[in-house]
């Protein structure tokens, strides 16, 4: 059991395979509370799977996954529900609900998971929308939002329950440099002002250098480097060095 109170998320010897293909092979790492970890790696190396395992959307074949003080592997629905309340998840394409307006997308988890009054939900929703710069877009449907707006909306939904840990799957993919930088700034502000732990899957080295306290590099399912940006830069692993410097 993970007894260190400063650990927000810990992977212990996690293995996951889809049929014959092993996407994670005996992977271990941890993220301290209030710290940011960036997961780097080439496409198809198990980065998104790592996030989904933390959120218990997938189960590992072997190993332990600790979120705060709970091992999510083997938890029942009720236990998972408690753990998931501590987590926020920004999906790669935001995964906003098409049939709901932006406001409804954000209000849904508050209505379902809290006992707040309608006026409190209104206040919280508008506050988060303002935080991501979408305060005037609450009535719009996701189809009416641009790529950058969708990312910010997805981030707003991930943050609306004020999670202790935020998982972000390629928050800057498909965005121009300026918009990507704005998203990075939102993540950083959340970490600074709320002490939120971040686990960010990214291909954006600039963003990773800016956000990360630590970097983990995955290659063919193996964790080939783990440490600060400087440590990974000086690592003996060629893939890790190239990913962080090129």
């Amino acid at each position: 059991m993970s007894t260190d109170r400063n650990i927000a998320v810990e992977f212990k010897n996690v293995t996951k395979a889809f049929g014959e293909k092993r996407v994670l092979n005996d992977v271990s790492f941890h993220v301290e509370q209030g710290q940011a970890l960036c997961l780097l790696g080439r496409s198809g190396t198990g980065k998104s799977v790592t996030l989904k395992i933390i959120m218990a959307l997938m189960r590992p074949d072997l190993g332990e996954v600790w979120v705060d003080r709970d091992n999510v592997v083997g938890l029942g629905e009720r236990g998972l529900s408690t753990v998931r309340r501590k987590l926020g998840y920004l999906f790669q394409d935001a995964a906003l609900f098409d049939s709901l307006t932006l406001y409804e997308n954000l209000a849904l988890p508050l209505q379902r998971l809290t006992k707040k009054s309608k006026s409190q939900i209104d206040d919280m929703t508008l506050q988060v929308l303002a935080e991501v710069g979408l305060s005037t877009d609450g009535a719009k449907y996701p189809s009416a939002l641009s790529g950058g707006m969708r990312k910010r909306a997805g981030l707003a939904r991930a943050l609306v329950l004020e999670p202790k840990i935020l998982l972000a799957d390629e928050p800057s993919s498909g965005l121009d440099r300026i918009t990507a930088s704005e998203i990075d700034e939102l993540l950083l502000r959340r970490k600074r002002e709320h002490g939120t732990s971040l686990i960010v899957v990214t291909h954006d080295v600039h963003g990773a250098r800016r956000i990360a306290d630590r970097v983990a590099v995955l290659d063919k399912g193996n964790l080939v480097a783990f440490g600060s940006v400087e440590e990974v830069t000086q690592s003996g692993n060629d893939i890790a060095r190239r990913l962080i410097t090129e």
Binding site: K52, M55, L57, E77, L80, S81, R84, R85, L87, Y89, F91, Q92, D93, A95, L96, F97, D98, L108, P109, R112, L113, R157, L161
Partner: protein, 256 residues
């Protein structure tokens, strides 16, 4: 024989999925807001299609029946034939097949798209049971809406037949209604209408199965939409055969 194994595998998976629907449907929390939304989607938006189709079908059927019955001098039987055929078989079956086409494909495509775009994962990540949130309201909406839509189909078919008959023989409305309902028993009306709840369950659960369980991305959306309609329609017709035997067993008087 490899295909036979796949058929059994499919039947088993759909069976397990359907049992889960039945179990979850009676356990709280009940997604009433979602159910209301789906009832509007399944019911309200299908009424026009059902009424227009029923009306046209009723008119066409009367035209065909008249040509045949004239030969035997039995045109007075047209309203009774129309009412019996619509209430017993045409109304329930055609309403179910139309709903499978309009709603089944929609359910399959929407859920498959939600799966492909990670919306179902997003629901789970918010600690919401995606099965109860997405699947149960859709299945219940089909189960509740189809009997009501069948009534629309029955009566619009009768209306279409009446107008067709008025143009052909200037029959009085009272006489048409009297002849139509004279030979109709409650068992001819209630049992076939109630059996559409089973058709609704088939449409809802089969379509949801294809959409909810797909893992093929955009290709899965297309396949889910097509398979939902094809398999639902096929199962409705097969179930109809079994249900008719059950109705004859339970209500022997309804056998004509």
């Amino acid at each position: 024989m490899h295909w036979l194994g796949r058929v059994f595998e499919f039947v088993g998976k759909v069976g397990i999925f359907s049992v889960r629907v039945l179990v979850d449907a009676v356990q709280p929390p009940f997604e009433l807001a979602q159910l209301a939304r789906q009832l509007a989607e399944v019911g309200n938006k299908s009424v026009a299609l059902i009424v227009v189709s029923g009306f046209a079908l009723g008119a066409v059927m009367t035209l065909h029946t008249r040509n045949t019955l004239v030969t035997f001098g039995a045109t007075a039987m047209i309203p009774a034939v129309q009412a019996l055929s619509f209430f017993i078989e045409i109304g329930p079956l055609v309403a179910a097949l139309l709903l499978a086409g309009r709603v089944g494909s929609g359910i399959g495509a929407v859920l498959a798209n939600m799966r492909a775009s990670e919306q179902i994962d997003a629901i789970e990540s918010l600690s919401i049971d995606s099965f109860k949130f997405l699947v149960i309201p859709r299945v219940l909406a089909c189960v509740i809406a189809l009997p009501l839509l069948t009534l629309f189909m029955d009566f619009s078919g009768l209306l279409g037949g009446f107008l067709s008959e008025v143009l052909a023989s200037h029959i009085a409305p009272e006489l048409y209604i009297n002849r139509a309902f004279n030979n109709l028993q409650w068992s001819n009306f209630i049992a076939p209408t109630v059996k559409t709840t089973v058709f609704g369950f088939i449409i809802g659960s089969v379509s949801s199965y294809f959409g909810y369980t797909t893992d093929k991305g955009a290709q899965g959306v297309k396949e889910a939409a097509t398979n939902s309609v094809v398999i639902s329609s096929l199962l409705i017709i097969l179930a109809d055969v079994l249900l008719i035997k059950c109705i004859f067993f339970l209500f022997p008087d309804s056998a004509i």
